[in-house]
């Protein structure tokens, strides 16, 4: 290492402070609370005394088992649905391929807790299915298979896009070479395409697993009736219901973090061992094969999946939103824009919730964008000492489920000795969103920085730019397109984030998600549906439109 007399770049300092505040503090307090049960009273007595009770609890084993089961089942079902679709999409000429891509992107963009409300409306007794077809599927819905089914509809697109993209790239780059050297199409697929695509597939499945074990809305809405507790719902119970059990919540959080971290590290390992997607830009358009007689069955399957995953929940939500009363059912006389009028009239605080969430979404996008860019810079480009620590802090949020972040923030900022605290202000929500969503901008910015030659920054310095000026004038504009995409994603997800909002939102502050959640609990389903519909419109359509204008629709995944 060259002796560096130069002072550390201000960008690195800002990144370190930001990461400390947003990531390190909440995580540290979870660990502290787990070790020192009396932390809430400002005391460090009786370390580790809560572990025995919490870890020895038979219920913990059960909940951990349930969490793992849920993750595995969602992974399996996602793979079963997504892989055949992806193979067809990548290797054959499927009519309307772009349209299917968009239709499969939408369920990924609709948060499961909103989709689940649509499904409840459809499948419950006297729901839309019963009104149209004469039977209901309540038993299925409020059961483990029901939970798995609904969560899969949200997560299979991850696998679909990852696999179809890898197959396309690999197919055109390597399998064609195998063909030249005499392999039949089948042989080329089995010997070249499939082995080369496995890492991409494995990584996407691990991502689905991580998403599934962190999910709150679906198990909370459906699981309690089925008596199906997972770690996330158990943690929520310990921090929000009497008797509050913070040490227990902290220990469960650590278990969840361990699972999530394991999945994430495995995913990184798989990708770092052999990743063939990252090596090329766009797959070259090679001649795909005709589906032949399979054309109609394949199209039918695509259509069915798109309808179930996208069309049905959207229609159910729209129907609920347009119904004057839910009991009135699906008849013309019962339809009207009353719920939308109520929302726009702000009689129920809906507009304020909308405003709060949208401003928090914008703020989270800006903060994570800046912090993500600076952190990625510090890790990739700077030679500052201690950047290994920063690297860990940028990776850590990947393993921090929303509920854990929320618990950590409560533990950190609700300490009695703090002179000032963001707790009980909307700022605590911003901190939560930033920690949860930081990985997106970091990932995009890291990839972008790797593409930028070191000399571009060096040249700016030689021609008179200070470190900050070089960052602002040269590096930031170069990563801007990627960063903007990531920030849109942050905006979209932060505006309707559910679990942290439910747990840490201060009294009197409601967000889109807590508003919808509360309407549903209070029985004002129509209002909740109308809000849900508006939310989907704003947070799904807006980023999609902006991104497609930028010509990079697919890069969201």
């Amino acid at each position: 290492m060259a002796r560096s007399v130069e002072t550390v770049s201000p960008s690195v300092i800002i990144a370190a402070v930001g990461l400390g505040l947003v990531v390190a503090v909440p995580f540290l307090f979870i660990v502290l609370q787990a070790i020192f049960p009396e932390l809430g009273r400002g005391s460090l007595t009786a370390p580790f005394s809560a572990f025995a009770g919490a870890l020895g609890d038979a219920k913990l084993i059960g909940m951990t088992g349930n969490t793992l089961l849920l993750g595995v089942l969602v992974v399996v079902l996602s793979a079963l649905i997504a892989i055949p679709l992806a193979v067809a999409r990548a290797l054959f000429r499927v009519p309307g391929a772009i349209v299917w891509d968009v239709l499969f992107l939408i369920p990924f963009m609709i948060p499961p807790y909103i989709a689940v409300l649509g499904w409840i409306m459809t499948l419950q007794p006297r729901g839309y299915l019963e009104q149209l077809a004469g039977f209901n599927l309540t038993g299925f819905l409020f059961s483990v298979p029901g939970i798995v089914f609904i969560m899969t509809l949200n997560s299979f697109p991850v696998v679909y896009f990852a696999v179809s993209r890898t197959l396309e790239t690999v197919g055109s780059r390597y399998a064609d070479v195998a063909r030249v050297f005499g392999a039949s199409p089948m042989r080329a697929f089995w010997r070249v395409t499939l082995p080369l695509s496995t890492p991409g597939l494995a990584a996407s499945l691990l991502l689905v697993f991580a998403m599934a074990i962190e999910e709150y809305g679906t198990p909370a809405a459906l699981g309690s009736r089925a008596g199906f507790d997972v770690l996330v719902t158990a943690i929520d119970l310990r921090v929000s219901d009497w008797p509050i059990d913070l040490p227990g919540a902290a220990i469960l959080s650590l278990v969840l973090v361990a699972l999530s971290f394991g999945a994430f590290m495995l995913q990184r390992w798989v990708l770092s061992r052999r990743s063939y997607e990252a090596t090329t830009g766009k797959p070259q358009g090679t001649a795909k094969r005709d589906l032949g007689p399979w054309k109609w069955p394949v199209l039918l399957t695509f259509g069915l999946v798109a309808f179930v995953a996208t069309g049905l929940p959207l229609l159910a939500i729209l129907a609920g939103a347009l119904s004057r009363t839910i009991s009135g059912g699906l008849v013309w006389s019962n339809l009207g824009p009353d719920n939308f009028a109520a929302i726009l009239g702000d009689t129920t605080g809906a507009l304020r919730a909308l405003g709060t969430s949208l401003s928090l979404g914008v703020a989270a996008a800006l903060v994570t964008g800046l912090l993500g860019a600076l952190s990625a810079y510090a890790v990739v480009k700077s030679r500052a000492r201690g950047r290994g620590v920063l690297d860990v802090l940028t990776i850590l949020p990947n393993a921090l489920p929303g509920i854990v972040v929320a618990v950590g923030l409560i533990l950190a900022w609700n300490q009695p000795w703090l002179p000032v605290t963001p707790y009980n202000t909307a700022l605590i929500l911003l901190l939560a969103y930033c920690c949860i969503l930081l990985p997106q901008p970091v990932r995009y910015a890291t990839a972008a920085f790797h593409q930028i030659g070191d000399n571009l920054e060096a040249a700016a310095r030689v021609f008179g730019a200070s470190p900050l000026t070089a960052f602002r004038r040269i590096l930031l504009p170069l990563i801007a397109p990627s960063l903007l995409a990531a920030m849109l994603l942050v905006f979209a997800v932060a505006t309707r984030e559910l679990v942290a909002s439910v747990v840490v939102a201060p009294v009197g502050v409601s967000t889109i998600s807590t508003y919808i959640w509360r309407q549903f609990e209070q029985g004002s389903v129509g209002l909740g549906m109308a809000m849900a519909f508006l939310t989907i419109l704003i947070t799904t359509a807006l980023p999609l439109i902006v991104l497609s204008l930028m010509g990079r629709r697919g890069s969201l995944l």
Binding site: R3, V5, L456, A458, A459, V462, F463, G464, L478
Partner: protein
Amino acid sequence: MRGEWNSEQAISAQNLTLSYSGIQILRGIDVALPAGQTLALLGPSGCGKTTLLRLVAGLLAPTTGDISINGQMVAGPGVFVPPEKRQLGMVFQDYALWPHLTVAGNVAFPLEMAGIGRAEREARVTAALDRVGLGAMAARSPAALSGGQQQRVAIARAIVGEPRIVLFDEPLSNLDRELRETMVAELGALIRGLGLTAIYVTHDQSEALTLADQVAVMEAGQIAQLATPEHLVEQPASPKVAEFLRLGAILRLVRDAQGWSCAGRALGPLGGPEVALADVLVTPRALRVTEIGQAALTGEVLAAQFRDTGYTVTVRLDGAAEPGRAIRTVQISSDTRMRTGERIGLQILPERLRWFPARADVPM
């Protein structure tokens, strides 16, 4: 004694070393470059040329030693002037043009950083682009230029701020030969015309010898020889320098009672030092083709290559191959084309040889 003339040097470096995590990349570098002169850094890939240039630019800090620019110490014990304060121009090996700025935006950047007003900036950008013949391309994106054009933009950017010192890192290495030869001439004219002090990194000896007032031949992190081009060609300091400059073949000779011999072939008394073993530089000018019957050296033509003035013929010398050494070949110039496989005799002109006392332990 060095300190006295330090202040007159545009760039000087004393006893520079640089290590990356314990591995020495540069060792004991001493350089002194008077204002207005061009120093070429010449050496094989990986010998540390770019590293030395980055030290001068302030993109790296030396492990030990110090660097002064125009008499002011910019790096040394407890001193480090960051690159933006050194007021240099630099042309990077990969050009490092900023892809999000136009050609004019790239060239204007140094002026902007210097806080120069818009009107003057535009005028100077136009002048700099005109100077490199790219006035018409100001509004283009650098990505839409050819390699040679990008290279000119990089040069325009390096000179637009009128720095006294410009660093060039293999600016021509990415260009094809023809373009390189024209650009060398243009660059030389530019450097002289602006009175620049320049450090010019290259691994092409003809570029170095054409452009430079002084050439530093680097080898494994050290300067093997620092001299004027003429001196370098006339008196290379070591066989390695001679080989790197491709001045000719190095032959190992052994002295016995009858005189010198090469691989068992007696060559007669050639002069040379009073040692038992010596390496000798045999330039093409030191050889003459003779009748094969009476020649001391014989060999077989391996290849004949046409150059502007005649043929350059590579000849493999006869004689027992020594283990561990490459096949001995020499090059000669010839007006006529020789056939591959043809056997010829060679006569050595002793007064044109350059001798190096050999250290037997160093395999060549």
